[in-house]
């Protein structure tokens, strides 16, 4: 932008800056050629907030690979779109609702689900599944229990009512989230490839139509709140809480999909963060047009709302549509059927300006392109994380495998999440082929042989220990989880949850994670098609663990060719695929059993990942394995115990080593499979030079028998595993 003399005459008081930095306020004055009105100031402040402008992250996000033959639409639209064959497309995205969920867990989480659903059906997709990734503080922290219960109830309350099954997720606990929980929600939808809707407005003169719920004073300045650090007073910022109405959302989905089946729509966009402001500016901006809004026509829930309030309101369940002028009646008829508001609130213009009128006054008149283009992009200083030394496993005490396993299976991060997913309707629609409890959920597509697999993952303790390795690992873990059910991983969506980017160490975590993700995506041909960034996740200067949540989607061409993790047939050979050195740095074992959070995380070899994963996927496709599970948190023995519990079958193990590093090490690129024909499998592995070892056989006795150790009772493991979360949630302190 050219340097001109500042048009600013005076400074607003700091408390009236609405989150704009002084230089940004200056820039706003220069763009307008005068000082902004209150409404204009509000519009600048939300458009340039971290949440809407990605000012700290843009530079790095651009480096992520976003293309592949099957990518129809990458980042930049409401959600990503991939081609899944037969003229079908899959549309998906993940989004955070961290700050609102901390302030009001039920509504915060519920509206998070509502928001991500809208991002997906806005593009023409029928939502078929929801996922959620949750991080809470230490179980012993006084706030944790209420947050868990509120967030889970909110996600269920919304998803259950709209009739979209919540099929998978992940949940972790760590003291770094004590003052800042994370709630990341993901929606997967399907559409016809030739019926995808975009947000770029077209056709000056075309009507701008508002549909859905009425506008109230909800969540004004929510977008800027989502970009603000917390302090101990943040619970005072209460009026910004939004309340969701899943019933209206359900009607909105049906009405929008019905309208989309006609030819009435030019462009459509949900009203998310910064509501009417961001939706109108983005639509007009992308189309290179102007937009004239007459706010007197906005359906309002409350009386006396100002332009400022209407433009910034974050009332839920609303959409903005550019219609073909002759099709207004079609829309009116459909929205009347569902008893939803439908009002023409303006039209597109050739001026390139956003003009906001109310009560006969012009409350804003601002050029769109300069505002969007000048939206700041920072190159924030960053500092790489200090490298950590590997942990020397030989110096650790000898542990009884059974006791260590029981402790791990019942620890907060590994205990069963049944208490959570049973509060989610994971079956509605009737196409949930693999339910929660496995590596990835599998959801069928009506009328098709194929199915989609989906999961969300991140291992923040690795990212903290080494951001680049951790970033790569998060991508790789989703890839592995999809592979383990037999699916071909197609693409990811990412949710970057970090602390304050103005601190170089935090920015270093962000940059490192992106670098790792980029490498992994490239090596696996597994592009990023959508995502979301949530920064400033700090309270009183205490940042969360860096948490790049990855949502992965994979395709199963034949849904019947999928396997799950449960041990099945007595006598099946148990085969470990991948090499085990015994890596304990940054492992769960080290933290939970030895009480140490240290060491470098397990290294990632992307070539090995790809080779081993492709091999396993091939075995599943050929029907050569009866069960498959990837090895992640807790290592090999934990994975095996999970398989045994799921199948209610035991195992007799013959292991080359029984030291902690071998049993609980978190070396990557590994899977456990079971097969009736081990010989064939091993021969296949040998030709490809993939490490594969028979480590035991499936048995009917209710235990894991390790040569040279006391047998481990499955009943005891089940008690530890299933008991922890319900026990924790029902205890009083």
């Amino acid at each position: 932008m050219k340097k001109t003399k500042s048009k600013r005459k005076s400074w607003p008081k700091p408390k009236d800056m609405m989150g704009l930095a002084p230089a940004e306020y200056d820039l706003a004055c220069n763009i307008l050629g005068r000082e902004p009105s209150l409404t204009e100031h509000g519009i600048f402040s939300v458009m340039w907030s971290e949440h809407c402008s990605y000012k700290s992250s843009k530079k790095w996000l651009k480096t992520l690979p976003t293309k592949a033959k099957w990518v129809i639409c990458g980042p930049g639209e409401n959600a990503g779109v991939i081609d899944i064959g037969e003229g079908d497309a899959c549309i998906f995205k993940i989004e955070s609702h961290n700050h609102p969920s901390y302030i009001e867990p039920y509504q915060g989480a519920a509206t998070g689900v509502g928001g991500i659903l809208r991002d997906v059906f806005t593009m023409g997709a029928r939502p078929i599944a929801n996922l959620n990734a949750l991080r809470f503080g230490a179980p012993s922290h006084p706030k944790t229990r209420r947050l868990v219960s509120g967030v889970v109830a909110g996600i269920g309350g919304y998803g259950n009512c709209v009739g979209v099954p919540t099929v998978a997720g992940e949940t972790n606990f760590h003291a770094s989230y004590n003052g800042n929980c994370l709630v990341n929600a993901m929606t997967v939808g399907i559409a016809r490839k030739n019926k995808i809707f975009y947000s770029a407005a077209a056709g000056a003169g075309n009507p701008v139509v508002y549909v859905g719920a009425k506008t109230g004073r909800d969540g004004i300045h929510g977008a800027t709140m989502a970009s603000a650090e917390f302090d101990d007073n943040s619970e005072e910022k209460r009026p910004t809480v939004q309340v969701g109405d899943p019933f209206v959302e359900k009607l909105l989905i049906e009405a929008c999909l019905e309208l989309m089946a006609t030819d009435a729509i030019v462009a459509i966009q949900d009203m998310g963060a910064a509501g009417l402001t961001s939706s109108s500016v983005e639509m007009a901006g992308k189309g290179g047009l102007g937009i004239d809004l007459d706010l007197d026509n906005v359906p309002a829930r409350e009386t006396g709302m100002s332009s400022y309030e209407m433009m910034l309101s974050e009332s839920q369940e609303r959409m903005l549509i550019i219609l073909k002028p002759k099709r207004i009646e079609v829309a009116q008829r459909i929205f009347a059927k569902y008893e939803l508001d439908c009002a023409t609130i303006g039209h597109l213009t050739k001026t390139g300006r956003l003009v906001v009128r109310k009560n006969g006054n012009v409350d804003a008149d601002m050029p769109i392109a300069p505002m969007v283009q000048a939206s700041p992009e920072y190159s924030r200083p960053w500092k790489p994380a200090k490298k950590r030394k590997p942990v020397d496993a030989r110096k650790l005490p000898v542990r009884e495998p059974g006791a260590a396993l029981e402790k791990l299976m019942g620890c907060p991060d590994l205990a069963s999440r049944r208490w959570i997913w049973e509060q989610y309707d994971h079956l509605v629609r009737g196409h949930t082929l693999q339910r929660p409890g496995g590596d990835a959920a599998v959801v069928g597509i009506p009328g098709r042989k194929k199915a989609l697999a989906m999961c969300v993952d991140s291992t923040p303790r690795y990212v903290e220990a080494d951001p680049e390795t951790g970033g790569a690992q998060a991508v790789v873990e989703t890839w592995r989880n999809l592979t383990a059910v037999g699916a071909t991983p197609m693409a990811i969506t990412d949710n970057m949850n970090f602390g304050n980017p103005e601190r170089p160490a935090i920015m270093g975590q962000f940059v490192g994670a992106i670098k790792g993700m980029r490498k992994a995506c490239k090596a696996l041909n597994y592009p990023v098609v959508s995502g979301n960034v949530s920064l400033y996740n700090e309270t009183n200067g205490q940042a969360i663990l860096p948490t790049p949540t990855i949502g992965g989607v994979g395709l199963l061409k034949d849904a019947t060719k999928s396997v799950d993790l449960a041990l099945k047939a007595d006598g099946d050979a148990i085969v470990l695929i991948g090499a085990t050195a015994g890596w304990l740095g940054a492992s769960l074992f080290l933290r939970e059993v030895e009480g140490r959070e240290e060491g470098a995380p397990p290294p990632i070899s992307l070539g090995t990942e790809k080779r081993n994963g492709d091999f396993v996927r091939g075995l599943i496709a050929k029907g050569q394995v009866n069960a498959c599970h990837d090895i992640s948190d807790g290592g090999m023995l934990v994975a095996l115990a999970e398989m045994a519990l799921a199948g209610r079958m035991g195992a007799r193990l013959e292991l080359p080593r029984t030291d902690s590093a071998y049993l609980f090490g978190e070396d990557q690129a590994r899977y456990i499979v079971t097969t009736a024909n081990a010989k064939r499998l091993l021969a296949g592995a040998k030709t490809l030079r993939i490490p594969a070892t028979v480590i035991g056989t499936v048995s009917r006795d209710g235990k894991l028998a390790l040569a040279g150790c006391a047998p481990i009772s499955l009943d005891k493991l089940r008690q530890a595993h299933e008991g922890w979360l319900p026990g924790y949630m029902s205890s009083k302190k």
């Binding site: 004073r217 909800d218 209460r238 309340v243 019933f247």
Partner: protein, 80 residues
């Protein structure tokens, strides 16, 4: 001693139930329905020694459990 507690949504907070009830009543043919607000009503038997103590206790109960003070208000009456 008995505490009678009304928990209602704060002004401006979307009342999804109230909205649905208003629509339902209109659908049944009731004319002239204005604003409808739906809240909770809780009665608690307390072992407090006097009205003031009961009220103080009820207030704490509202703050800690009965009301979500982020979006709800509460009102307490004490009956002998």
């Amino acid at each position: 001693m008995k505490a009678k507690i009304h928990v209602t949504l704060k002004n401006g907070v979307l009342d999804v139930q109230g909205k649905a009830v208003a629509a339902g009543l209109a659908g049944l043919g009731f004319p002239g329905i204005g604003d409808v607000r739906v809240g909770r009503y809780v009665e608690i038997e307390l072992a407090a020694k006097d009205a003031a103590a009961a009220e103080a206790q009820a207030k704490q109960m509202c703050e800690k459990l009965l009301a979500n003070t982020v979006i709800e208000n509460y009102r307490i009456e004490i009956a002998g």
